[in-house]
Amino acid sequence: MTKRLVFETMGGATIEIDLEKCKKCDSKACVEACNKPHMGSILGLDENGMPQLVLDEAKVNRGACTDCLACELDCELYGNKALKITLEMPDLDRHLKVLKEKGENVVYWE
């Protein structure tokens, strides 16, 4: 089974790190990004050099994670695309569904 690190943030996002992919990543850009000035510093490396939470999840969820998205963006550019941040937006989905049913478009569908 694929090893994953999954946790939730105060802003309602879910951060999921595919640790299998991290094994092939030299940069661990997510950890570096998280530890820059003004960032949350919630990610560190474990004894095997893999990303881990250095704070307990309750603190992360109470705002220790600053929801800065830097881990995902830097992982995408300099890492192994192992980290995904998702935010549920149910009413946006409903809006888009209604548009589709009406045959209307939004610019990014064109």
Partner: protein, 420 residues
């Protein structure tokens, strides 16, 4: 807009032991017929929309028998009154009444206190009445540390010479109950217009208006309202309710989004081009409006993302703005901001990358991004690193740019895009 429909307001009234007419809300003819049979004809059929003066605009009709009811309900349900869809109707027993009062509790910004407002000229628009016959309106401030006791309400109503004896006592009792509804539900306004006195002397709330403080919606989940910015008399759109969620449970910075022209019809009517709009700081937003509108563009939304919002908030706001179906461009400008603009940029970049996965985040409409303030250099660099700055549809600007520069840059970009 955090406002209850009439039938929802009446449910609150009923729970507080304020008399309401017999009736029930429905969204179909079959149930409407059943309700009418139960309460007996004649009945009133009332469109449940966020609109005052419904009687004058054909949103309230009476039906004396099943045939008339079928006709009225068929015409009203799923129709459009102004720009509002009628999804629900309230079927109520038609009442005969002898008097109509106005009774309301509202927040008075001048005194910073709630105020009891009463008039014996109910059924009329209270704002109109305040202009034409101000002497007909009684107002009394309420000390929130005391509340509104029955005797205080009675004292207030005694100023009106036409309300006496049992009527006075019963109306004062309703005023106290109305005040409790106002306080317990964080209301801005609770209004009964008209409050009627029937043939038997019963006092009944024939209508209900309940407006909740937008910032307190989250404290009142039982009301079932979505958090959304004030948007006039129309209900919030899905995009607005989604935007209303951005700040829920997360105090770090804010995102205020409202659709000024949800279907773009107004922009079209005045011959302007619809654009998406986001600024850091409302003042900056207004200054930019002064520059873009004369050039022929009309922001169909207003959005202010300031107070150092998280990147995640910026991401959500950007996705929402781009999901408006009629925009032909997008402008993002920060005032000279103290907030971390690199975080602001990250949110926008993630949104663009998700919206435009095939181009790595390069948009297909003209977009101007102006970053001015703390970490603006990092913000601009991030757009470069992610390969968005070099898009032909994108113009990046830094702290030397003014709102006028931003508007002109957008105009140039738009003209290039249109010419092809």
């Amino acid at each position: 807009m955090a406002r209850l429909l009439e039938y929802e307001g009446k449910e609150l009234f009923s729970k507080a032991n304020i008399n309401i007419p017999q009736g029930k809300a429905t969204d179909n003819l079959k149930e409407a017929q059943k309700i009418a049979e139960e309460i007996g004809y004649p009945v009133m059929v009332k469109a449940q929309i966020y609109q005052g003066n419904r009687g004058k605009i054909g949103a309230i009709k009476s039906a004396k028998d099943p045939g008339e009811l079928q006709q009225v309900v068929t015409n009203l349900l799923d129709s459009k009154i102004g720009s509002l869809n009628v999804d629900k109707i309230l079927i109520e027993k038609k009442m005969l009444f002898e008097k109509e009062f106005y009774l309301g509790i509202t927040s008075n910004p001048a005194t910073r206190q709630p105020a009891l407002i009463f008039s014996d000229a109910g059924g009329m628009d209270i704002e109109e009445l305040a202009q034409s016959q101000p002497e007909k309106i009684i107002t009394q401030s309420i000390d929130i540390s005391e509340g509104l006791y029955d005797y205080q309400a009675r004292d207030a109503l005694r100023k009106c010479s036409t309300v006496k004896n049992k009527e006075l006592v019963r109306t004062a009792d309703i005023a106290s109950k109305l005040y409790r509804i106002y306080r317990e539900n964080d209301c801005k306004l609770v209004e009964i217009n008209p409050l009627v006195v029937d043939e038997d002397g019963n006092i009944i709330a024939a209508d209900a208006r309940v407006d909740i403080d937008d910032d307190a919606v989250w404290r009142n989940p039982d009301l079932g309202l979505a958090s959304a910015e004030e948007a006039g008399d129309r209900p919030a759109t899905y995009l607005e309710t989604e935007a209303g969620r951005i700040d829920e449970g997360d105090h770090r910075g804010s995102a205020h989004f409202v659709q000024i022209d949800p279907d773009g019809s107004y922009a079209k009517e005045i011959g302007k081009i619809s654009i998406g709009y986001n600024t850091v700081g409302t003042g900056c937003g207004l200054t930019l409006l002064d520059e873009v509108v004369p050039l022929g563009y009309y922001p169909v939304n207003f959005c202010d993302t300031s107070g150092n919002p998280t990147s995640l908030k910026m991401y959500a706001a950007t996705k929402i703005i781009f999901s408006q179906p009629i925009i032909k461009g997008y402008i993002f400008v920060t005032g000279v901001a103290a907030q971390l603009l690199d975080n602001t940029a990250r949110g926008i970049i993630k949104a663009l990358k998700e919206l435009y996965p095939d181009t790595g985040g390069k948009p297909n409409i003209p977009c101007v991004f102006v970053f001015r303030g703390r970490s603006d250099d990092i913000a601009l660099k991030l757009f470069e690193e992610h390969g968005i700055s070099d898009s032909p549809m994108v113009k990046m600007m830094g702290r030397k740019a003014t709102e006028r520069d931003a508007a002109r840059a957008f105009d140039d970009l738009y003209k290039q895009w249109i010419s092809g």
